[in-house]
Amino acid sequence: MDLLWQGIKEAIRLLLGGDPEVFAIVLLSLRVSLIATATSLILGVPTGMALALSRFGGRRFLISLVNVGMGIPPVVVGLMVAILLWRSGPLGFLGIMYSPLAIIIAQTLIAFPIVTGLTLAAVQQLNPKVRLQILALGASRWQMLWILAREARLSILAAAMAGFGGVISEVGASMMVGGNILGQTRVLTTATVLETSKGNFDVALALSTILFALAYTITLALTVVQQREKAP
């Protein structure tokens, strides 16, 4: 109990004291995960819509890949990205291993199937006649996709929440491709792991509290938007 109490006191001190090191870690976590979520939305929403609306050979196989991807462990993604970006790997010449960009790439790959899969399900759930009605009103193909995305917006918002929740809390990939370098690639999750392994439970607890508060705040904001939309 004493440990917990110490941890909470330390957390409050770090939070209120404006510790520059902690502040930098929080900022980097947010930046990396928000960019990764945004990128996965930009790529995943159109992919999900295309998979939902088109019919072609191999479509089912692609959908099964997306569904598997939704549950893929971050360490596996981390390993794949690490192999790609390793100095002697195929993309090693880019020299971005152990950089925030490497973490963003890994997190985007984690969130992309989640966003794609949820968008696919959302668009497939719309009444098929909605599509005919949009075309009947004289929409071009792009106008139709835009209106369909708007109709599925609540589910796409849920996809954004799920994607963000997945990447802000993952630790394996960030550790493997970021390297947990102080001041460069240390994010909240990797810092928590490090502090815990050093026995600094108070700092680890403080970092976890911040992580939880961040995840909660952003999800809450999205939930408010979603529920306000839904209210009649």
């Binding site: 009444n127 006649k129 005919l132 075309l135 009103l137 071009s140 009649p232």
Partner: protein, 356 residues
């Protein structure tokens, strides 16, 4: 039109004239909606060609420009996120119409469909009837050259159905828009159309003026769908001076018209054309022709009348008013007489009903 192996629509030829209102009627799953979607350029037919305004459009690549000259309304309102005004303006906005022109064109239609007061309301707060009005306004505001309606009133309650049908009838009379109207409702079909197509099993079973379709159904299926409940096979015994003697099972009746002798024909009777009497009325009324004796086998109450099935050597359905039902103290098992005019019998050549 085929889905996989199954042919669901086979139309050798159908042309719709400018300004015409064509009603398409038929049972569920007959292919009516598919026909409408092909006409609305929302589905490509698996075979065959579609022409619009004298131009073949089957293989046309720019369907969007052509679709913008048509408008389709479906059974469900299918409105989009936003207000009533957003929805009515949507089609115009998709066409890149300037804002002030959208406003100028939308307003009169909001008025005509009595939804001006709802303009700023979110679609989530509309009743079904209001939503369907928005749906109609959304298409009518586009001033389409062809207006395609797929059972637009089918999901509404009967009073709303009747009043909206009447409003739409007035609007169409004013705009003179070429219209194809799919319905299962016989009254709507009669009320709206210049021509009536009966679609059964993916084929146009009959295409004619509505009153002719109702009075002279082309075959047994059309007759049955249009509410002719009694269809009996018979043989013409003699035919002279516009009157024929016909053997229906073990009865003999008189039918208006001259028909080939000894040929199997189908004889149709509408329930409302048959009068039901008690056996003792025969002598009193001096009836001798077209009187059939039978026993009541089934009674089904309707809104204002009762539907009574009388078993002769074949079942005959008759409509009886509630008052008559009480006065004649009708009940199951009671012996009654049925009588009808020779002109009430509609004759269909039997051969046709098996031509598929």
């Amino acid at each position: 039109m085929r889905y996989g192996q199954k042919t669901i629509l086979r139309i050798p030829h159908l042309s719709i004239a400018e300004g015409e209102i064509l009603a398409v009627i038929g049972p569920n799953g007959a292919g009516k909606s598919t026909l409408l979607q092909i006409l609305g350029l929302l589905q490509r037919p698996s075979d065959g060609r579609v022409f619009f305004d004298g131009q073949e459009i089957t293989g046309c690549s720019d369907l969007v420009a052509l679709r913008r000259r048509l408008a389709s309304v479906f059974q469900e309102p299918l409105l989009f996120h936003g207000t009533v005004l957003d929805n009515v303006a949507l089609g115009l906005r998709l066409r890149g119409t300037p804002k002030n022109e959208i406003k100028r064109r939308v307003e009169p239609w909001l008025g005509k469909l009595n939804i001006s007061h709802l303009a700023g309301r979110s679609i989530a707060k509309l009743s079904f009837g209001e939503a369907q009005r928005v749906n109609l306004a959304r298409s009518l505001v586009l001033n389409p050259e062809v207006f395609l309606l797929d059972e637009p009133f089918a999901s509404l309650d009967p009073p709303t159905q009747a009043s909206m049908a009447e409003e739409l009838q007035n609007i169409l009379a004013e705009t003179k828009t070429t219209t194809v109207f799919v319905t299962q409702n016989r009254a709507e079909a009669l009320m709206f159309s210049n021509r009536l197509a009966v679609v059964i099993d993916g084929q146009i079973a009959q295409l004619d003026r509505p009153q002719d379709v109702f009075s002279h159904p082309a075959n047994e299926d059309v007759a049955a769908f249009l509410g002719v409940e009694t269809i009996v096979e018979g043989r013409v015994l003699s035919s002279a001076e516009g009157l024929s003697r016909v053997a229906l099972a073990r009865h003999e009746i008189l039918v208006t018209g001259t028909y080939p002798l000894e040929q199997e024909m189908l004889f149709c009777l509408r329930p409302e054309d048959i009068t039901l009497l008690l056996p003792n009325a025969r002598a009193a009324l001096g009836l001798n022709a077209n009187v059939i004796r039978g026993t009541i086998t089934r009674i089904r109450p309707l809104e204002t009348q009762l539907k009574v099935v009388v078993g002769c050597s074949f079942p005959v359905t008759v409509l009886v008013s509630k008052q008559a039902f009480i006065d004649l103290s009708l009940a199951r098992g009671k012996q009654v007489l049925l009588t009808f005019k020779p002109s009430a019998v509609h004759v269909i050549p039997k051969r046709l009903s098996h031509e598929r």
